[in-house]
């Protein structure tokens, strides 16, 4: 397995804009997991545009299809990976943190674009998927 040689420039942040029912998201997840296993310091994943749909607890995926959310859950637990949800983008897509309709998976942190500023200024590289 690949391991980073230099430890001086290895802070990474990732933006995800594609929905979970799309194979492009599997690629993004695979990239994120590979980076984590290689010892990259992944300071956070920011979910924007259709990417926010990853956080929806109401989503039903057929049991024989790729369970994207359960993989995020695993990475969140194993690596304490911060998962930031752009709440403005989420609300447009029926995802809400209001008490009556709460449907955001607890592994996600409700965030705004201010968090993106933080991620992009702190990380050495930001990669968009």
């Amino acid at each position: 397995m690949y391991r980073l040689e230099s430890k001086t420039v290895n802070k990474l942040s990732v933006m995800i804009t594609t929905p979970p029912y799309n194979n492009l998201s599997v690629t993004a997840l695979n990239y994120v997991e590979t980076a984590l296993k290689a010892g990259v310091e992944l300071i956070g994943v920011f979910f924007y545009q259709d990417g926010v749909m990853h956080a929806n607890t109401n989503t039903q995926v057929a049991s024989d299809e790729f369970q994207v959310l359960s993989h995020w859950q695993r990475l969140h637990q194993e690596y304490k990976l911060p998962l930031h949800l752009c709440i403005t983008a989420a609300e447009k897509r029926g995802i809400s943190d209001e008490q009556s309709t709460q449907n955001i998976h607890p592994i996600f942190t409700v965030s705004g674009l201010g968090e993106l500023v933080e991620l992009s200024t702190t990380a050495d590289r930001m990669v968009q998927f």
């Binding site: 029912y21 799309n22 194979n23 492009l24 695979n30 024989d64 299809e65």
Partner: protein, 123 residues
Amino acid sequence: MTKAAVKTLAILNAKAPYSNTAGKDALDIALIFGSFEQSVSLFFQGDGVCQLISNQDGAIISVKDYLKTFSAFEFYDIENVYACKASLEERSLLASFHIKEVQVLSRKDFADKLTLHHTILRF
């Protein structure tokens, strides 16, 4: 054709498989029409022709490979499967398909076959 005539559906597939759900969404419609014994024809144009090529394997990239379901066309009496020759050539693709029903048509024949149908959905 008069109003009372049997309506036929053509599905025009325009996208490559895997990266999005277009091909799968189109296939689901085709199979439903087949199971209701409604006439349905499948057309592949542009990057859509990539759905027909042999030796693909979505499992490598964790896709549940809907292309394998194409082999059920016979069971559903879906016999009309057309690929655009120009699209295959533009992509340097050999006419080696993973199902046997595919007919490769010239641009004009492809257009003529397509416009025999009442309803055309494109994915």
